[in-house]
Assembly symmetry: C2
Homo-oligomer: 397 residues x 2
């Protein structure tokens, strides 16, 4: 964590227990920027957006910069109606007062159970302790405070030199279920100390998310609370101006976001495998995406991954279910570098033990070649294990 302190200037963090989860679990996290930060955000496409998503959208649409991020775990404040929105407003006001920033500059996030009223008073009671705990090395506590079924915190950092300045990039995310983000993931916070104005941040964040968070799946469910927030506070003194300079920053952000996305999949509920489903040669990217998502969502494929059973018949059956025109005779499937299917059937030289060897690896690639055009897409997916069922059958009990 020491590295992050150096690399991304002007941010401090805290994570405390405020009573939304059983003590002593951390359940309230805060990020404070020492100056006004330009912000961009992406939110869930779920038609039942949680209250903090509704409020956050309005806030970002109003263009307001951000000074403070307040996030609770243990309760999603989703499907809570007008009271839920009022709760977000009350938290922003209370946090603004405690941290001495305008309420309009407080960005609120929530994660946890859907449909329960958020106990705002408990959250408020934790704010003074969070202020006291605020520190550059509070990152670990913050990243733990936003966890739900995550087994470990998810932090990634980077550094890039732009126009003679060292620019820091820092990302914090949580998983671990209801993960197939569309436009964002469960919760992710990307910070940079570069100085980039909001109108430039927004398209940059869209591209970064499209290549990272929007290409992962744990269980195919898109959460009500998905949010990815990007802040740029300019504390590095660096203001990328040219397209080339912005591209450097974007590349580093994409690397950090990709790392977080990979962590989310690897720590997906019950996950034991991280599998890249890479589709090539589809008619176009949309077809490639359909195939990649269908394979990576198939329960039969995901249980075969868990069982380390190189049952390629299930993979090809899923390819055939993607709603995409596919010519079986043109299809090839590789497990890492092992050719399993050629011309829609078992490759002549394929030996079961070679496929099994790949499936025993903790991470590997299932590459599907369609032979119809230039379209490519890949998805990073988790397997489906006993523990996924255990975790989700017992989640609230």
């Amino acid at each position: 964590m020491e590295m992050c302190k150096i690399m991304c200037r002007g941010y401090r963090f805290a994570g405390v227990h405020c009573g939304l989860k059983a003590a002593p679990k951390l359940d309230l996290g805060v990020i404070m920027s020492d100056r006004s930060a330009a912000a961009a955000a992406l939110f869930t496409t779920n038609r039942f957006p949680a209250a903090p998503v509704i409020a956050g959208r309005r806030q970002l649409a109003a263009g307001g910069p951000v000074r403070l991020v307040v996030v609770n775990s243990g309760n999603a404040n989703a499907c809570t109606g007008e009271e839920g929105i009022a709760a977000v407003r009350r938290i922003a006001a209370a946090a603004g007062a405690v941290f001495d920033v305008p309420a309009a500059a407080v960005f609120v996030g929530s994660t946890g159970v859907i449909g329960e009223p958020l106990p705002v008073a408990r959250l408020e009671s934790g704010l003074p302790a969070a202020r006291e705990a605020l520190a550059e090395d509070g990152l670990d506590a913050f990243s733990r405070a936003i966890m739900t079924t995550d087994s470990h915190p998810k932090v990634a950092a980077g550094m890039v030199e732009i126009a003679g300045h060292r620019v820091g990039v820092l990302g914090i995310a949580k998983g671990a279920g209801m993960i197939e983000p569309h436009m964002a993931t469960m919760l992710a916070y990307l910070l940079t100390d570069a100085d980039v104005a909001s109108p430039r941040l927004d398209p940059l964040l869209r591209r970064v998310a499209a290549n990272s968070f929007n290409r992962i799946t744990v269980d195919g469910d898109t959460s009500t609370n998905d949010t990815v927030l990007l802040l740029a506070n300019g504390a590095s003194g660096c203001r990328p101006e040219t397209a080339a300079e912005l591209a450097l920053l974007e590349a580093e952000l994409e690397r950090v976001a990709g790392e977080l996305a990979r962590m989310i999949v690897a720590d997906g509920e019950g996950a034991t495998k991280t599998v890249t489903v890479a589709v090539r040669g589809a008619a176009d990217a949309a077809d490639a995406e359909r195939v990649a998502r269908t394979v990576s969502r198939s329960l039969l494929v995901k249980t075969a991954w868990f069982g380390e059973d190189a049952n390629w018949g299930r993979i090809i059956a899923a390819v055939g279910n993607a709603g995409v025109a596919v010519e079986p005779a043109a299809v090839r499937i590789f497990l890492d570098d092992v050719l399993v299917v050629d011309g829609g059937r078992r490759a002549p030289d394929y030996r079961e033990e070679d496929g099994t060897m790949v499936f025993r690896r903790p991470a590997y690639t299932v590459a599907v070649e369609i032979g119809a055009g230039p379209g490519t897409f890949s998805v990073l997916a988790a397997d489906l294990s006993y523990d996924y069922v255990r975790i989700n059958a017992d989640y609230r009990t």
Copy 2:
């Protein structure tokens, strides 16, 4: 089974062991009609149709009536290329010779592992024993011979009086995984002794399947081998002619098919619950179907069913992910007769224990009201249990 002998005349059945599965498991089933039967069939929409599906489509397109149905389990003859098609032809020829019927009147089906060459010689070796075993009360053996991971055979029968004749209807099906049929289910055989010509059978079968097999899901995967075959051999001496007479037959076929569909879900791999997801008030039927399918496929919803956790937040999150315009304030959700969600949030009078009571039942209905129009659709779905994962992680080992 005695009833069926009386009710559906002119059919005999057999089930024997031919060596595709470990002895003494039955793995070869035969249905013989004592006269030429008009046939209609629906097949999988999977883009990798198995060899018997390809051959069966051609056979039915040629309009040929059916005398004999030959089905093996233990091997799906899918993704087996031209050799697979040749294998189907060889089986039809061999069975034609043994049972003394034209090869063109033999309808072949397969179910089991995808991608392995079908050991035709073993199958052929079982045909004489099957001929010897052929009997009106061979139905139980037949229904067992086509099982894969099914825990019990699935047979449903009915009788309807049409124009003074007693007409029998009999159905046999298998599940139990890779179940979300589109146009058909894994394997189902519907028999009647009514006399109905093929051109009239076909639209009738489409409607029957649309209201039964095409409204169930176990794991959301559509198999390469889905086939539903309907035979009408006229042995009852009844030839329904008027629309009213045909409607009587169709209603009875739909009842039998619906019963089989329910059995498939109840015996879905690892299934402990049978849940009807009924969507009402969508803008149209297509929107209602999207919502019903999204809820019934959601892993988080299915594990909550298994865990008997009335976690309605997951249901509403799935509704929000269906890609359908939904106004949260108009949404209501019932668990059987318990109102859980009203106006997109927890109903004021809802008590957790009432929801839990419903979720403890082996079968119940999750009704989702969208409040946008007249569209309705319902899906019969299984839950997702440890055993689903166990069965599918270990299927081939």
